[in-house]
């Protein structure tokens, strides 16, 4: 057995659990999981990995869509397999009976408990919804397919 270099897998998981603070950080008020929300953005917006927080600028609007989007079901804590830490929402993200007539193409997952800080942006190509339901089916929560993977 020899020594090797690497970012510890446990650290990757613990990043998603907010167990490390390597700089000045927020003071967490509780030990429960934060609330994650999912907002939709117009194809003309500028959401990307550089987005730091939720903003209503460029967000979709339409029948039965509330600004800020919907809450994401988070019943499964981050975990790891091999050297990859991962996390996936534990249910589909659904916008029920909405009409979103202006082309949109991106969902932003953000932490509404921590000042709406961004988690990830996912671009699924331009689409519209008419008096129907938009469903984002999540991938299998494993090291190969999970929505968030820290490999």
């Amino acid at each position: 057995m020899a020594n090797t270099s690497g970012i510890c897998t446990s650290f990757k998981v613990e990043l998603m659990l907010a167990l490390h603070a390597l700089g000045t950080t927020v003071t967490r008020a509780g030990t429960t999981a934060d609330t994650v929300k999912a907002a939709l953005y117009l194809a003309s917006a500028s959401i990307s990995a550089a987005t730091t927080a939720y903003s209503a600028t460029g967000e979709v609007s339409g029948t039965n869509y509330s600004a800020g989007g919907v809450s994401v079901t988070n019943a499964t804590a981050p975990t790891s397999s091999g050297t990859t830490a991962f996390w996936t929402p534990s249910a589909s993200i659904t916008y029920t009976t909405v009409t979103l007539s202006t082309s949109f193409d991106t969902v932003l997952l953000y932490n509404s408990t921590q000042s709406n800080r961004s988690i990830l942006a996912f671009n699924f190509g331009a689409t519209t919804v008419t008096a129907g339901t938009l469903t984002l089916n999540m991938p299998t929560n494993d090291a190969t397919h999970a929505l968030i993977q820290l490999a």
């Binding site: 990307s48 990830l120 996912f122 938009l134 469903t135 984002l136 089916n137 991938p139």
Partner: protein, 64 residues
Amino acid sequence: MKVFTTKGLIEIDRLRIVDVVQLEDNCRKILCQYWLGDELVRQSVFIDVLRPIEAQAAHGDLNG
């Protein structure tokens, strides 16, 4: 059975239903369209997330 549409509740027999499958880089989209004549009166969208490309790319430098 009636279906909710932009024209209100309409008997499903009066509607033409078309499923359109679109493949994107990181997902598969299924557009379930309901047509009343030449008018699209309902469209639901189902997106299967296949690979979170942006999320993986953003975290590429975490390789341990």
